[in-house]
Amino acid sequence: MAKTQTTAAGPSVLVRTNDGIDADLRLRMYRSQVQIREAEQRANDLFLQNLVKGTSHLSLGQEAVAAGCAAAMQPGDLSFCTYRGHAHTLARGVAVEKVLGELMGRDNGLLRGKGGSMHLTSIEHGVMGSYAIIGAHLPIACGAAWRAQYKGDKDVSVCFFGDGTTNIGAFHEALNFAVIWKLPVVFVCENNLYMEYTPISEVTAVANPAADRASAYGLQPIMADGQDADAVYRTAKAAFDKARAGGGPSLLEFKTYRYSGHSRADPAKYRPAGELEHWKANRDPIKIYRQRALDSGISHAQLDEIEGSVKQEVDQATEKCKAAPPTSVDILCTDVYADGGWAWRN
């Protein structure tokens, strides 16, 4: 069970304990993080080869949040992601090939190229979409949770967003709305210290952009280490359990860090010297988790095997995507409306 420790001044801090996470779960979360790392790195390589067009926003460095949250979800739970959504999409079980294919504008892509990197969606996996207008999906997640409440469904809607998103109006409206309707929705803020290129501290009135706002909605402030998949898992699970039990929404803030620039166009020169290196050396979620796994009795071999199989999976997906035809131009005008077409007139 997750325990939280509340201090008088600040938000509650999650205490790391080892309970509730068995070897199976740990291996799953390890695999998930490694898969995200590999797939994102591959996306970057493919971009450098000019095989990924458009933009893309990677989650390198933020793998533990996606892996930990997804592991804490149950089948049927719903994820609402941002343009930085590859990680969350993969974590819910969508195939690497589908994701890379979409980035590459191939016919085998998750959305056959219609959505692109910023809009990954797989309803069958509970990935209810990736939204590229900051804040828009927080109210949308409320609506999905309202449906669950109304129908007596037991799923939880989980909504991921960044620190910068806490300063837009829709954040405020969604939080208030979720609380007064006591909806089974969990808002997950991935605080990676930057909005696009601007440090979040320069544009935010409080130190912890999500947690320090929780009380404005009658919620408890909840923060945890976003580089530690176990901490993420436990924090998330407690919130999901609460929502599922009818206890209403939570707002979680995970401190994390992105290794690459904001998007493919960004060399991230605005970072203070040494910051990236510090995070990579000391706060890398995969390094941390590999050690955690070893400490808990899992063998090097087991972990190496996971790494190997993930590499193979990503390699194979890459080959399939390279071989896949470009998106068929026949679909340009399909699926605007439910009848499958786009006819706005007779």
Binding site: L78, L110, L111, R112, K114, G115, H119, T121, S122, I123, M128, G129, Y131, I133, A136, H137, L138, P139, I140, A141, C142, G143, A144, A145, W146, R147, A148, Y150, K151, S157, G169, A170, E173, A174, N176, F177, I180, W181, I331, T334, D335, V336, Y337, A338, D339, G340, W342, A343, W344, R345, N346
Partner: protein, 326 residues
């Protein structure tokens, strides 16, 4: 058969659909306990209970976002945006979210929802509470856009909108709420994308929407009586889908077309219709297509000014008469 106000037709239309389908839910500001600021939703809370008819905070983004999320996952929400001018504070959902999600996801996401909103002028509410903003929605791919002019059409088109699998923006005209009309008993369901010839005529075609329909009809009567000109009046009813066939066929018969638009001129629905007609019925036209619109200004509050701004029966009559006799 009963006589019903346009206002009561809204409540009856919603009730008809909520009775039929428990997935239909309804949310908005002051719509439940208070029965709506226009009293168009009186009785629904009592009939369908607080789980299906819900008051919200002043959070238009939350209202439309919640409607979208509910629609994506199996409900058929009706969301009220009190005044259509307020679409501006939640425009992202119409412009970028539920309009585009089906396409962007290659057909995965569905959004069967209805946004009802009080539209139009005549109540002396001034520039931020009087606008006709159908074109704000018509211009967005992926939306459907409806604007009824009679109590009967309110019920039938509202039912069609609720049952439609796509997002529909339903413009109720504030100045028509008190208007009465005959409505048959029993279930009423109409068809989106169908215009209605509300007055046949042979000399010119008048295209009108919502509050402009009764004015166009009155103008047509006056043109007939005073100038012997016989106008066909078409109630456009549905901007998307657009029944271009009915309109093009009419223009083919009459050779002339006039639009009567309550919106300020630029990029109004009439511009789109004229561009279609000018292209596709060019050789049917015996004279220029003419748009009669509110001038391209914000709406003033004072009655004298507002009456002058919005196309009046007199202005419609004069414009058409002058143009036909030019």
């Amino acid at each position: 058969m009963a006589e019903l106000t346009y206002r009561d037709a809204v409540a009856r239309g919603i009730a008809q659909e909520m009775s039929r389908d428990s997935d239909v839910v309804f949310l908005g500001e002051d719509i439940a306990k208070a029965g709506g600021v226009f009293k168009a939703t009186v009785g629904l809370l009592e009939q369908f209970g607080p789980l299906r008819v819900r008051d919200t905070p002043i959070s238009e983004q939350a209202i439309l976002g919640a409607a979208m999320g509910a629609a994506m996952t199996g409900l058929k929400p009706i969301a009220e945006i009190m005044f259509s001018d307020f679409i501006a504070v939640c425009f992202d959902y119409l412009a970028n979210e539920f309009s585009k999600s089906r396409y962007m996801t290659n057909g995965q996401v569905k959004c069967p929802l209805v946004v009802r909103t009080g539209n139009g002028g005549g109540a002396r509410f001034g520039a931020q509470h009087s606008q006709s903003v159908e074109n704000w929605c018509m211009m967005i791919p992926g939306l459907k856009v409806v604007a009824p002019s009679t109590p009967l059409d309110v019920i039938g088109l509202l039912a069609a909108s609720v049952r439609d699998p796509d997002p529909v923006i339903f413009f109720e005209h504030k100045s028509l709420y008190a208007v009465k009309g005959e409505v048959p008993d029993g279930e009423i369901v109409d068809t989106l994308g169908t215009a209605k010839i509300v007055r046949p005529g042979k000399d010119a075609t008048i295209l009108a929407l919502a509050m402009m329909v009764p004015r166009a009809l009155a103008a047509a009567e006056r043109l007939k009586a005073e100038h012997g000109v016989d106008c066909e009046v078409i109630d456009v009813r549905s901007l998307v889908p657009l029944d271009t066939q009915t309109m093009l066929a009419s223009v083919a018969r009459t050779g002339r077309v006039f639009t009567v638009e309550e919106n300020p001129r630029l990029c109004g629905w009439g511009a789109e219709l004229v561009s279609i007609i000018a292209d596709e019925a060019f050789y049917d036209l015996d004279g220029p297509p003419v748009r009669i619109t509110t001038p391209h200004i914000p709406l003033p509050a004072a009655d004298a000014l507002e009456d002058l701004a919005i196309p009046s029966v007199q202005r419609i009559t004069n414009t058409i008469q002058r143009s036909l006799s030019a």
